[in-house]
């Protein structure tokens, strides 16, 4: 079922008892949607492509800016001005021609998010603003789509894997978005360039574990990383019965754009 070239390419995976030929086949048959081709999306997309995840969607409407290159390692200096999804697709296909990359050069919204995630096994939030983060959570919970949340600011990051209906969702922890401009943005507050590499790589690891069906996912536990203290902590967080989207009496029953919560960590400015 594998070509000679694939056996060589994936040899370090195949030799792992948790992966093997069967696991590698699962990765090649797997479909992962990466929302955002920025700081978090860059390492996510690169590692998923390298791992041989067979179908990878990537959504972003933006173009590469010089100020992105400090951390968005999938984009190179000659890519400045190019659509991010195109820049990302080129690198992913160059790393691994086995991978089918589907690009979505659009901003996610209540109108398109359900369609964008529908065809995938797992989704990854690599966005920078709370409107998008809440929308992804709600859409994934409503669709029963497992996904990985990730957030970064300055020297700290957080990530959580959500298994809808089974584990804690983003709204179980944060019931509603903060008001616009309440939380400093990365463009105002800065972000150390290696930080999204750490958090994004963990998110990609979760997607791979999910596809393989191996290990324990980061569910019901929020992982917090502090680069200055070089500290990782996991905080147990149970499902919230009063969660507005996955609780006993949900108040969020359809997808809406939380326009008041836009722009949180707009790294482009």
């Amino acid at each position: 079922m594998f070509t000679e070239e694939q056996i060589e390419r994936y040899s370090r995976h195949i030799i792992l008892k948790e992966v093997g030929g069967k696991g590698q086949k699962k990765l090649l048959d797997g479909k992962v949607m990466v929302i955002g081709a920025g700081g978090l999306g860059a390492p996510i997309a690169l590692y998923l492509a390298a791992a041989g995840v067979g179908t990878i969607g990537i959504a972003d409407a933006d173009v590469v800016d010089l100020s992105n290159l400090q951390r968005q390692v999938i984009h190179f200096t000659p890519d400045v001005g190019k659509p991010k999804v195109e820049s990302a697709r080129e690198k992913m296909e160059a790393i691994n021609p086995d991978v089918k990359v589907r690009t979505y050069r659009e901003w996610i919204s209540a109108a398109n998010i359900a369609r964008i995630i529908a065809d995938y096994d797992f989704a990854i939030d690599g966005t920078d603003n709370f409107a998008a983060k809440f929308l992804i959570n709600d859409a994934c919970v409503m669709a029963g789509k497992p996904y990985s949340h990730g957030g970064i600011l300055q020297f700290v990051g957080q990530t959580l894997t959500v298994l809808p209906g089974q584990s804690t969702c983003y709204r179980c922890i944060f019931p509603s978005p903060p008001p616009k401009d309440a939380i400093p943005t990365c463009s105002q507050a800065g972000v150390i360039g290696v930080l999204p590499g750490v958090i994004g790589t963990i998110q990609a690891t979760e997607a791979i574990k999910f596809l393989l069906g191996k290990g324990e996912l980061l569910a019901n536990r929020l992982l917090m990383y502090d680069a200055l203290e070089m500290n990782f902590r996991k905080v147990r967080i149970n499902r919230n019965q009063k969660c507005p989207v996955c609780g006993e009496n949900p108040t969020v029953t359809e997808l809406v754009d939380e326009l008041d919560a836009l722009n949180v960590c707009d790294l482009e400015k």
Binding site: G36, I108, G150, L262, L267, E268
Partner: protein
């Protein structure tokens, strides 16, 4: 009063108990208006902060909003 705050030992001097609203002030918690508070493993509703008492030995987590990654909403909509 000795507490565990975000995994580290912490003390609130001269008090045997405080409510969560008072604790946010005592500990000078940043983003106090938006922070999520977990007390002994349970996420508290914001409306319950005044009525929820924190005592010796309790474990408190402050969970903060974090953005990150990349913009995926139209700039015009901001």
């Amino acid at each position: 009063m000795n507490l565990t705050v975000n995994g580290k030992p912490s003390t609130v001097d001269g008090k045997e108990s405080v409510n969560v609203t008072e604790l946010l002030v005592e500990l000078k918690v940043p983003q106090a208006e938006y922070v999520t508070v977990e007390l002994n493993g349970e996420v508290l509703e914001r409306e319950a902060f005044d009525a929820t008492v924190v005592r010796e030995g309790d474990a408190v987590e402050f969970l903060y909003f974090m953005g990150g990654g990349n913009s995926t909403f139209p700039k015009g909509a901001k």
